[in-house]
């Protein structure tokens, strides 16, 4: 997993909880990387799982809640660091399809080895969007946080409903986004 996710996660813990929380988290997590993260590096996904689980243990905040909050944090970071991805975009319904079609494409140019999740979008009706997320990493909560942050940022009046299909080899999560 790209180092950016880890550096931003530590940043999120610093801001949301405290500097001491971050340090304790790293200390108790016994990570192969010893918590030495750089945004341009690549690290085991298991380290993120450990960090999230231990943070939940340290702070009594549920894992799902942590991931949603981290999703919102990531969105703000993207907004500041990569304004080009948002240029000319005025709504969530316009932005979300671009994650797969444009942003992931650009990321791959820089990091050909990046493992990026699939976000397939389709439009069932005017003003609605179904975003299908496939991943074995179960980061749908993080995805939901990103979507919510996008809705807040663009000031849209939308709701997000989520359904999970566990029948296949890997879970398929559908985010149904529609006007309130």
């Amino acid at each position: 997993m790209k180092g950016l996710v880890f550096t931003e996660f530590i940043e999120y813990v610093d801001n949301r909880f405290s500097f001491e929380t971050s340090e304790n988290l790293i200390e108790i997590s016994d990570l192969p990387s010893e918590g030495v993260y750089t945004s341009v590096g690549t690290y085991e996904f298991r380290e993120l799982e450990t960090l999230v689980r231990n943070l939940s243990y340290l702070t009594d905040v549920p894992v799902a809640e942590i991931l949603r909050e981290f999703g919102r944090h990531l969105f703000r970071h993207f907004l500041i660091s990569f304004p080009i991805f948002f240029e000319g975009i005025k709504s969530t319904l316009a932005f979300l399809p671009r994650v797969q079609d444009y942003i992931h494409l650009e990321v791959r140019k820089l990091y050909p080895d990046a493992e990026l999740p699939d976000f397939i979008c389709n439009v069932p009706a005017q003003g609605q969007l179904i975003m299908v997320y496939r991943s074995t990493r179960n980061l749908e909560d993080l995805a939901e946080g990103l979507i919510q942050a996008s809705i807040d940022y663009f000031g849209d009046s939308l709701t997000v409903k989520r359904s999970t299909d566990d029948s296949g080899d890997e879970p398929v999560i559908r985010f149904f986004i529609a006007p309130k």
Binding site: F19, E23, E34, T38, V40
Partner: protein, 376 residues
């Protein structure tokens, strides 16, 4: 407080380590990008070159196709090659009757000629182009013949499929004048030029055949008439003297009947050769009829024409032929006349020659008569 400081120290250490790691990764990425950039530059350069070569070939093809003149095609070929290689000398040969015929040379090769058998040997040996590099040190007979030393000597056959039509010899003094890419282009240009050169050679041959009498090698009557008309007009415009001589072999029917037609042909050929031998290059000669020849002598008054005719008469009388189990000789009669005034015409001039020739026959043959001869 102590605990806080310890945590900060740990974070600092981690961040320093992270920075180092990031620097290593970024440096590796920069190196990777540098290599990639260089690769792209190479690809771009190759594409630029390929485009330029394609453009050269396209425009050369167009230019070659538009001309039938040999000189023009050869100049075009040299100039197109010259766009891509600095040539310090070149020689062009055409291939005819199983050997190379020198056509032209320029630059350092001006006035130099490789032994054509040696040239053929090179091409047969190489089964294609022959390139000699660094000939400074080479102990090579071709260069010895050339009497020059160069960085690169190229012997480039001009061939259509397997048919050799000529050969281009190039001399380059720049060490790296010809790289692989340019070499491909030069060969492509040579191949294209060869097709056009072959056509031009054929065209030239057909043109030659259409104006030459095949037996004697003199011009035919048609070509004589058109060229003589031009020269006659020029002489009138500039007020230059101009004379004509009509020559007829005496008793030629008798030669044919007695010794056969092949001996008769030999007589015709040798008399024609004697004419060509006596005449200047600028004069115009033709086989005018069966055993009749016509000569147009430029810038020549009748007294000089008379001299020439007399010399020619003696030459013809001295020719010895074999036939009928022994040797025999022939004679010829000559009629000479000069252009008179501005109202004179070529037809009138030739008519006066004809009258003088008739007079020479009447007076006993084997003689020269000039018009006017005191007609009554």
């Amino acid at each position: 407080m102590e605990k806080q400081l310890e945590l900060m120290r740990r974070r600092l250490v981690r961040e320093r380590l992270a920075r180092k790691e990031a620097e290593t990764i970024i440096e590796a990425k920069i190196r990777e990008l540098y290599v990639k950039t260089q690769e792209l530059e190479c690809i771009a350069a190759a594409e630029r070159r390929a485009r330029m070569e394609a453009e050269t070939l396209r425009s050369a093809l167009e230019a070659f196709a538009s001309g039938l003149e040999l000189e023009e095609i050869v100049n075009l070929l040299e100039s197109y090659i010259g766009h891509h290689v600095v040539i310090d000398g070149s020689t062009v040969y055409f291939y005819r009757d199983d050997n190379f015929r020198f056509y032209k040379s320029s630059g350092l090769l001006d006035g130099r000629c490789i032994d054509t058998e040696l040239l053929l040997g090179y091409i047969e040996h190489a089964q294609g182009p022959w390139v000699l590099f660094e000939t400074f040190d080479a102990d090579d007979s071709a260069l010895w013949v050339l009497g020059t030393r160069s960085r690169i000597l190229v012997i480039l056959p001009l061939a259509v499929q397997e048919r050799l039509v000529g050969c281009l010899v190039l001399l380059c003094n720049e060490k790296n004048a010809i790289d692989e890419n340019v070499w491909g282009l030069i060969q492509a240009l040579a191949n294209e030029a060869a097709i056009t050169i072959e056509n031009a050679l054929l065209f030239q041959e057909i043109k030659r055949l259409s104006i030459i009498d095949p037996l004697t090698g003199l011009y035919n009557r048609r070509h004589f008439n058109s060229t003589a008309t031009l020269e006659f007009d020029r002489a009138r415009r500039y007020g230059l003297p101009l004379s004509a001589v009509l020559l007829d072999i005496d008793y030629f029917k008798h030669v044919n009947d007695t010794y056969g037609h092949s001996v008769g042909d030999e007589v015709l050929v040798k008399v024609a050769a004697a004419c060509m031998h006596e005449m200047r290059k600028t004069d115009i000669h033709a086989r005018y009829g069966g055993e009749e020849y016509c000569l147009l002598l430029l810038q020549t008054a009748s007294d000089m024409a008379l001299n020439l005719a007399e010399r020619l008469r003696e030459s013809v009388a001295q020719l010895v032929f074999e036939g009928g189990g022994g040797n025999f000789t022939v004679t010829a009669s000559f009629g000479v006349s000069e252009r008179l005034n501005d109202n004179d015409t070529l037809n009138n001039l030739l008519e006066r020659c004809d009258k003088a020739l008739y007079e020479a026959k009447k007076r006993g043959r084997n003689r020269v008569v000039a018009w006017p001869f005191g007609e009554s």
